[in-house]
Symmetry: C2
Subunit: 261 residues, 2 copies
């Protein structure tokens, strides 16, 4: 199976993007809702949680892992790759590749959690590819709770998004990377506030495309993957809020299973 994890509900935007591209593949998702959010926590803690989550998915039959969490991707990918021998995907690299492809003036904005922005991983990866690029990053720590609360269309959310994006707007960016898997749920609002001339890169779509190509071309154990279109959703804490947001994100009925890591 393909195993996917996130700190909570955000990674379901990745699940949705993957199911749109390869609907037959069985997926197992783990949302660490008992310890969510990750983005306000230290690097050491995020690494520890990510390793535990991958162990859980591997023990439940995952042979490919997708880190559907930018915070974990930014801080824990290298550790995870050293620790596990199966293929592990993260959400940063595919987004950076697309951003470099679509940008005309190489002026990039990155929004993410505090932990993701502090890691500097987007700057590093963009500069490695093109040292001419200018990157402006803003931590937007309130967007995760606003999305988790389902405040997607409230004026307060619009005000807070505008306040965060103002600092990118005055830098005249031409491309904005959504560095958190929660943000696709307010993509239209973000587009409105940053301006329609700015290209938005949605890492949930990028990683799904990346995974699809990989399965078509490079993965030599494709026969190991079950293809019954099954999606199992595990969470470390079952709450009504998560169930609501999962239905809203996936646009299908969901059954949550409780699990501790």
């Amino acid at each position: 199976m393909i195993g996917i994890f996130d700190s909570g509900v955000g990674g379901l935007t990745v699940v949705k993007a993957i199911r749109e591209r390869i609907p037959d593949h069985d997926l197992i998702y783990f949302g660490d809702t008992a310890r969510t959010p990750y983005g306000i926590k230290s690097a050491e803690t995020v690494v520890e949680y990510a390793i535990e989550n991958i162990n859980f998915l591997v023990n439940h039959g995952a042979v490919i892992i997708v880190m559907a969490c930018n915070t974990a991707s930014s801080l824990a990918f290298e550790y995870a790759r050293e620790r596990f021998s199966i293929p592990i995907f993260e959400v940063v690299t595919p987004a950076v590749e697309l951003a470099l492809k679509i940008s005309r003036r190489l002026r990039f904005g990155v929004i993410g959690t505090r932990a993701t922005v502090q890691s500097g991983v987007y700057e590093k990866k963009i500069i490695e590819n093109n040292p001419e690029a200018k990157i402006f990053s803003i931590a937007c720590p309130l967007l995760v709770p606003l999305v988790e609360e389902g405040w997607l269309r409230k004026p307060e959310t619009a005000m807070i998004v505008k306040k965060y994006l103002h600092r990118l707007k005055i830098r005249q960016i031409d491309t904005l990377l959504l560095g958190c898997t929660h943000y696709p749920l307010i993509k239209a609002l973000i587009q409105r506030k940053i301006g329609k001339h700015v290209g938005i890169v949605d890492s949930s779509i990028c990683v799904a495309e990346h995974l699809e190509k990989y399965l078509q071309n490079q993965f030599d154990r494709a026969h190991l993957l079950r293809k019954n279109g099954i999606l199992r959703l595990f969470v470390s804490d079952i709450t009504h809020q998560f169930e609501q947001m999962a239905k809203l994100t996936l646009k299908e009925n969901v059954k949550l299973e409780n699990a501790s890591v």
Copy 2:
């Protein structure tokens, strides 16, 4: 020592209130910042975390426990009292007592996290004391992240507080219970938005007064308590944000120690 715990920074309002009343007593604080916040999580998870936190404090010499977290107080107090033989204080009862004393028309508002409000503990305790009382409770899940971010004076916070309190205002409450130890940090804003004729009950002050009286009158092991005015602050995850908020709340320099439970 007196052991105090919270999911994060909120319980420091209780520490501050206790230090103002009994400054000589040594205090040990545990903030569960690696798993914060509690208020969006299920009752089972909150109980499990509370028991682990108390064990930590007891293992570090605490002989009295203060649950400086309304979510834990609401959901885990009964379990904790059964499990441990030392005195345990929670923040709900002292606040309810004061609220009943100051209310003229017995129309109470309660604001708290989703978990606290869902527990119904305030309604239960108020009605037990006075069946005539009317209680209106509102979950305000975004206030914890706003306070943790330090957005104490931002217009967006004011708008969100106004939106939450509107539903209590139209009920013409005369007394408002701050059912979360984060809220004293925005007490002036809450007072402004609910109206100056409404009495506000701050559970952090109530529990500190309660503890002071208990130590003066009833506690037979007072000689066991060290009185060097020491405050040790343990957190399960050290972040810059917590350090900033701790300084702001306690109005003194702090040294954080890392601990896992």
